[in-house]
């Protein structure tokens, strides 16, 4: 529905493309695997379950045209090799993989390992953020990933402007902006995560930031808005007896950033792929029609608009 006068950059990593004007390319969907106690020790039944999630996401991705990316949660050094190998064995060989690693020191180790096994160029790095430490900077320079997600989380100022500052100049919390750090490390592609915050913490700015940042930098942008739903206090009680209502909110929330121009969604646990793919495919159809009919955007054949008549 929106169209930017600013040129919108398209990135291509392996067989995944992302970005462009709203509606031009299908929304990329990141499903997270290995998050939660159940998967910590890599028990055979838990691994089998994850294999099933990956297969289902891939099947839905093929059906809808929305690229599905595995977002691999890694919480300790011991998990790096097992988790990367497990996913790499189960996705197409030119498909990027995303590593979701909250700790700076551990992110550095993941980068080193990815370099050792020769998959750095397929790596989407989740994320380059305020928690960055020196060791991580060195690891980024030694083994730059194919793409970095730069996170616009600024605890000092959660407005859109505050989120932009952390990316642009470090907001006084870092010596330089995260975008410059990514450029200095020679990371070839960059995408923006506007940084979902809980309700009452400038939540709406997560959504507002998407068109504002795309308008400013032309880079692909998105967020993990399911985190806002997950942290909603009232819903935490309500969901205990109304699971379907929670799932509706969890999945439905992803329409908000996409309507505002988002190029990707980190949609939460991959077990929800069955709900999220048809839903976002539908949202993409609306947006693509609006882009084609009004702005004359060319929609590719593998877009949900063309595939799902």
């Amino acid at each position: 529905m929106l169209n930017f006068s600013k040129e919108q950059i398209k990135i291509k990593i392996g067989d995944m493309s992302m970005g462009g004007q709203p509606g031009e390319l299908p929304t990329v969907l990141f499903g997270t695997v290995f998050y939660g106690k159940k998967y910590r020790d890599h028990a055979p039944e838990a691994m089998e379950e994850i294999a099933g999630f990956i297969a289902t996401q891939e099947e839905l991705s093929q059906m809808t045209g929305n690229p599905g990316i595995c977002d691999i949660f890694i919480g300790s050094e011991e998990q790096i090799e097992t988790r990367l190998n497990f996913v790499l064995d189960r996705v197409p060989e030119n498909r990027p993989i995303c590593v979701d690693v909250p700790e700076s020191e551990l992110r550095a180790k993941v980068l080193d390992h990815a370099g050792e096994i020769g998959v750095s160029s397929r790596l989407i790095y989740n994320s380059l953020n305020l928690g960055l430490e020196e060791m991580e900077k060195e690891a980024l320079a030694n083994n730059p990933p194919g793409c970095a997600i730069v996170l616009g989380y600024n605890p000092k100022n959660m407005s859109t402007d505050g989120r932009m500052e952390i990316l642009e100049n470090g907001a006084g919390l870092l010596d330089q902006g995260l975008m410059d750090i990514a450029k200095e490390a020679n990371i070839p592609n960059m995408i923006i995560d506007t940084g979902a915050t809980p309700f009452d913490h400038n939540t709406a700015e997560t959504i507002r930031s998407i068109p504002v940042m795309k308008n400013k930098w032309g880079l692909p942008a998105g967020c993990a808005i399911h985190n806002t739903v997950e942290s909603w206090l009232w819903m935490k009680d309500y969901r205990k007896t109304h699971r379907e209502a929670y799932l509706t909110c969890d999945v439905g929330a992803n329409a908000l950033p996409v309507m505002m121009g988002a190029d990707y969604c980190v949609y939460g646990p991959m077990r929800n792929a069955g709900q999220i793919f048809p839903f976002i495919a539908m949202v993409d159809k609306f947006i693509a029609e609006g882009g084609e009919d009004y702005f004359g955007i060319e929609i590719p054949e593998d877009h949900p608009k063309r595939r799902l008549k």
């Binding site: 040129e7 950059i9 919480g75 909250p102 700076s104 006084g172 809980p198 930098w217 935490k236 702005f295």
Partner: protein
């Protein structure tokens, strides 16, 4: 107002000197023995809630940090670091290994109050209720004095600005100061700006 910040917690006995953070675990305790308990997921907003609520009750003198550590966020470790080392000039919790360990919504005075009022017992990764209750009983056997007046940290819904002035635009749709949508602009007038 006792416990002014909303969160996922259970309130027990107002006279108990013991509060418990259960990190990623869900553990229940006898209401007559514990002042307040609940889990704590994040190393920034979660810690702020715990600090603000604990110092609002001067009778709380002990905080047991137990339950499974929140992987990645290292919220328990970050809380311990805040207590032992405080924050640096940027609000970063000194020595914390968590993902984004920044304290922004509570001031230094409140942090110092937390550090002075509270003794922390580190039981990170202990989930056994009996073991935790043993530590609780040990503390209940001690005569803890009140720390004086409650310290109330007001939660501000939108701390970055007072209510913004109403923005009026003529014939345009405002989205942000950098992005004004102009419904009357002809598409041919919209040149592509190169990145």
């Amino acid at each position: 107002m006792m416990y002014p910040w909303r969160g996922e917690y259970t309130i027990g006995s107002p006279d108990s000197p013991v509060a418990i953070v259960t990190l990623a675990s869900k553990i229940d305790f006898p209401k007559d023995k514990i002042a307040i308990w609940g889990h704590m997921k994040t190393e920034n907003l979660g810690i702020e809630k715990v600090v603000a609520n604990v110092i609002s009750n001067p009778l709380i003198r002990v905080l047991i940090v137990c339950g499974e550590e929140v992987r990645g966020h290292r919220s328990g470790h970050s809380l311990l670091s805040l207590h032992s080392k405080g924050v640096d000039d940027n609000g970063r919790i000194s020595g914390a290994k968590g993902a984004v360990p920044f304290i922004e919504n509570i001031d230094e005075e409140a942090i110092e109050r937390f550090r002075s009022q509270i003794k922390i017992i580190n039981m990170i990764d202990v989930i056994d209720n009996e073991e935790i209750m043993k530590a609780v009983e040990e503390q209940l056997a001690i005569d803890h004095e009140s720390f004086g007046e409650p310290y109330i940290v007001e939660f501000v819904d939108n701390k970055n600005s007072d209510r913004p002035s109403v923005k009026r635009l003529t014939g345009k749709i405002g989205f942000h100061k950098d992005l004004i949508l102009d419904p009357f602009l002809e598409i041919e007038e919209m040149p592509v700006e190169e990145s």
